[in-house]
């Protein structure tokens, strides 16, 4: 398939893991292959007869030659394919996309997109996702970009396939195509009272077509399948245990792998005695550069063999979380992503009220319930790896680089996995499993322990945020200065109208390995901004909702604030002693969110309880309301952990709370009733929704705690040890 890159969009600076070098350096001894490239005839030999439609991305090769919107493929498949679809002779519609399913329910919503435009039943659609041999190149499933990009691409491909089917029928019946109707997987000729199923039209065909631009798509107001709560595709396999997650991969003759972990981050190996492990029958020990690992016939033997290795490490003193924020401030690099307008100093000097605050955010872990896992198989110098990743093509390249292979000699398959939250962008487990399998001469599966997942994955960046602001006597924002140190630049800009502003992101060489997390720094930046806005509202003696609306022009953002407030009963609910109300919201990645929360604080016990949450969300035309609600509620619950109690503790290059008994994540008892208002904007393009619903929760809770107690909490997590008087 094509390996040309998709049109670039700017990747946020806090996706540090994208730029990180390889984790291990091996001797390069692999063979060289070449990327798979098929001609049309070979293609149909593999796929079986039927109709195929390829979506060619911008500057597709053939498009320039033909100058047409769509064109038939005579010989070679086009380059730069975004997605493709095959309608087989038995009625199965197979759709190929490099995006992956990680619990965000995209397999279902993309199937809806295809069914919608193909005018076929949802059950006829099968998605092949994230298989580097079969699916077109894709940068990865991150940044809430699947719905705004892949949904449209698949709809275009499906619409073109539908047109092709209609043309085949028109030709066969010798009627004008415009007289025919495609619906429910059939083409009908209403005038002649005849109809034919798609599979019959596809039979005997070897018709391949490329499309370059979009056919006109069905507007959301006329959707029949998109916009409905289609049940989760393959749902039954999950409740019966039949679904095979990456960690469930079983290969014949497979061994179990373990990696010897250094004593601390950055430690170097000074002595190694693996004789005891090596002596065990069936155990393979690999020592290659800075990598030490074993493969053994069972998990238990693997664990014991690793424990039997004697290693000495040279470690160096490193900072602990107690010095973290001081370190981040002192080690900041010059500002990046600087944005400035007006005169902040003059506006501050003449403001009626000024407010200056510093917020902090700890490192947190994603804790995907399925840890990183990979199973590797070598055959004839080629490597296949089943692994849980949000970026199968990046992992393929990582493997190719590690073993000196051409990317075409490596296949990465990504079975729908046990979540990621931005944490599975890199291929360490895949590379380690492949290295062990190569040495053992047998397939090897490697699943990280929870402790490894807590320690050797990357963390959501910690950060320090400083805000200085001023308002006029009537509550109009006059000056806004916002500095984020290290945590990231996502949603760093304020959505409020301010004539004079300076906004700056300061990167820091992080003491811990850090990278993407669901919502990136939008959570930290919204927490600081929206808590600060609450403080300003109080300084202006205005209601927090009225203060926000006064300083907003964006109608969609105003609408979500109003909708959340109305459903919550903002300003109307009577307040019990110890209870407080708060709100927070904003705009990011095409989504508008506002969240209101009620908390109850017991100052004698220190217990802080979130009583209820109301979130209004607008992500354009809603593709699957039930799936969207699931995401919004889940994002809020995940957000509770980072807001209230989650923090990674570390000292001298070691994580000191790498267990679920020490690192608290939200559980049943932490979960309040969470209501959702969906604002379904059928006039707007659909945006991704997996991330942004998370960002309103922390400030809403923080502001509610202030409302209840008069205490302004400026650190995430806010109450790891409660809030005693």
């Amino acid at each position: 398939m094509s390996d040309e890159r998709q049109p670039e969009f700017s990747v946020e600076p806090e996706r540090y893991e994208f730029d990180a070098g390889p984790v291990y350096h091996f001797d390069k001894t692999g063979g060289i292959g070449s990327p798979l490239a098929l001609g049309r005839r070979e293609f149909f030999k593999i796929m079986g007869g039927g109709i195929a439609v390829f979506l060619v991305l911008r500057e597709g090769h053939g498009a320039q030659e033909s100058g047409r919107r769509s064109f038939p493929i005579e010989e070679n498949l086009p380059k730069n394919i975004g997605a493709w679809l095959h309608i087989g002779e038995y009625g199965v519609v197979t759709v190929f996309t490099g995006k992956v399913e990680i619990g965000q329910n995209i397999r279902t919503s993309l199937s809806q997109a295809v069914a919608e435009e193909l005018h076929a039943p949802l059950e006829a659609i099968q998605l092949v996702m994230g298989d580097t041999q079969q699916t077109p190149f894709d940068m990865g499933t991150f940044g809430s970009r699947t719905t705004p990009t892949m949904n449209l691409q698949l709809r275009r491909v499906a619409a073109a396939a539908r047109d092709t089917l209609v043309e085949i029928a028109a030709k066969a019946w010798k009627v004008d195509a415009s007289k025919l109707v495609a619906a429910d997987g059939r083409v009908s000729d209403p005038a002649a009272h005849r109809s034919v199923p798609y599979e019959v039209l596809a039979k005997g065909q070897t018709l391949a077509q490329a499309i370059v631009e979009g056919d006109p798509l069905t507007p959301a107001t006329q959707w029949k399948i998109e916009g409905t709560s289609a049940p989760k595709v393959h749902g039954r396999d999950f409740v019966t245990g039949r679904h095979t997650f990456p960690a469930d991969t079983i290969l014949p003759g497979m061994l179990f792998g373990k990696v010897l972990r250094p004593a601390a981050f950055g430690a170097t190996l000074t002595a190694l005695d693996a004789a005891a492990a090596q002596a065990v029958p069936g155990v393979t020990v690999v020592h290659d550069g800075d990598f030490v690992g074993i493969a053994a016939p069972s998990e238990l033997e693997a664990t014991r063999a690793i424990a039997a290795i004697h290693a000495e490490w040279k470690t160096s003193p490193q900072i602990s979380n107690r010095e973290l924020f001081d370190y981040l401030k002192k080690n900041a690099e010059p500002g990046r992503e600087r944005d400035e307008k007006g005169n902040v100093e003059a506006a501050l000097a003449s403001a009626a009220h000024r407010l200056e605050e510093t917020y902090t955010v700890e490192y947190i872990a994603r804790v995907p319930l399925e840890p990183r896992a990979a199973a590797a198989l070598w055959k004839d110098g080629k490597l296949t790896v089943w692994t849980g990743t949000q970026r199968p093509f990046a992992v393929r390249d990582e493997l190719a680089q590690a073993f000196g292979l051409a990317s075409g000699s490596v296949r990465v398959i990504m079975p729908d996995m046990g979540s990621g939250y931005g944490g599975k962008h890199t291929g360490e487990a895949a590379v380690a499993a492949a290295r062990l399998a190569k040495a053992a001469g047998k397939p090897v599966k490697l699943v990280w322990t929870r402790e490894e997942e807590f320690t050797w994955a990357y963390f959501r960046p910690a950060g320090v945020i400083e805000i200085k602001s001023g308002i006029g006597t009537d509550g109009t924002l006059a000056a806004w200065e916002f500095h984020n140190y290290n945590s990231g630049a996502a949603a760093i800009g304020t959505p409020y109208e301010v004539a004079n502003q300076r906004i700056e992101f300061h990167p820091v060489h992080s003491p811990l390995r850090q990278g993407s997390y669901r919502g990136l720094a939008a959570t930290a930046n919204h927490f600081a901004r929206e808590c600060h806005m609450d403080g300003l509202a109080r300084a202006a003696q205005m209601d927090p909702l009225a203060f926000r609306l006064k300083n907003l022009k964006d109608e969609r953002l105003k609408d979500v604030f109003k909708a959340a407030a109305q459903k919550f009963g903002w300003g109307q609910s009577p307040k019990s002693p110890g209870h407080g109300f708060g709100m927070g919201g904003g705009f990011e990645k095409g989504g508008y969110v506002a969240t209101c929360a009620e908390v109850a604080v017991d100052r004698s016990s220190g217990e802080v309880r979130v009583v209820r949450v109301e979130t209004a969300f607008d992500c354009g035309a809603v593709v699957n309301p039930n799936g969207l609600r699931n995401q919004i509620v889940g994002a809020n619950i995940m957000g509770l952990g980072g807001a209230l109690f989650e923090a990674i503790e570390f000292a001298d290059g070691r994580i000191t709370n790498p267990h679920l008994a020490q690192y608290r994540v939200p559980r049943f008892s932490d979960t309040p009733p969470i209501e959702v208002v969906l604002i379904d904007r059928k006039d707007q393009p659909s945006a991704g929704a997996g991330e942004t619903p998370l960002v309103g929760l922390a400030p809403a809770v923080g502001n509610a705690i202030f409302d209840a107690t008069g205490v302004r909490l400026r650190a995430l997590p806010m109450v790891p040890n409660g809030l005693k008087a």
Binding site: G103, G235, V239, G241, H243, V280, D416, P666
Partner: protein
């Protein structure tokens, strides 16, 4: 010389109404044996420390963390895993309720959630919401599907009352 890793063997287990013959170290975790030796991968590894509930199975009807249960300790007791709940193509009421309420996102916690809930409804056919939360507290869903899981358990309880 005594082998480095010598342990007594477990040769038989009773799972989902079947007897399995096997050769496993008594010290192996029940979870590893189920997954790696018997191919019953519906039970999941989440933490290996009994903290998340993804590996939950029923042993003589009681919910147990298979990751910290040594296979040598099971003996002749009967084990139920997620694979054993569906009977003749019919889902267990809790499986059906999880599906109907769409009480899952990535689905990795689902097996453990369902088996824990089976144990709950066996002991308390009509639990209150608080009782459900209390009983399920040891099971983690990182996707945050807790409210729907509570709803699914309530649905299953209501469905069994009717039938």
């Amino acid at each position: 010389m005594r082998p480095l890793f010598y342990m007594p063997k477990v040769t038989e287990l009773h799972i989902n109404g079947r007897t399995y013959a096997l050769q496993a170290d008594a010290d192996e975790s029940l979870l590893s044996v189920l997954r790696d030796r018997l191919g019953l991968t519906g039970s999941k590894y989440g933490c290996g420390e009994g903290q998340c509930g993804a590996c939950t199975v029923l042993i003589d009807g009681n919910p147990r963390r298979s990751c910290i249960t040594k296979v040598g300790a099971v003996g002749a007791k009967s084990i139920t895993t997620i694979e054993g709940l569906e009977k003749n193509g019919r889902l267990h009421p809790l499986q059906q309720a999880f599906l109907d309420a769409e009480a899952l996102q990535c689905g990795y916690c689902t097996s453990g959630m369902i088996l824990t809930a089976v144990a709950l409804l066996d002991s308390q056919p009509n639990p209150s919401e608080d009782q459900i939360r209390h009983f399920m507290q040891g099971n983690i869903c990182r996707c945050g599907t807790y409210p729907r899981i509570v709803e699914a358990i309530q649905r299953a309880a209501a469905a069994s009352k009717k039938s």
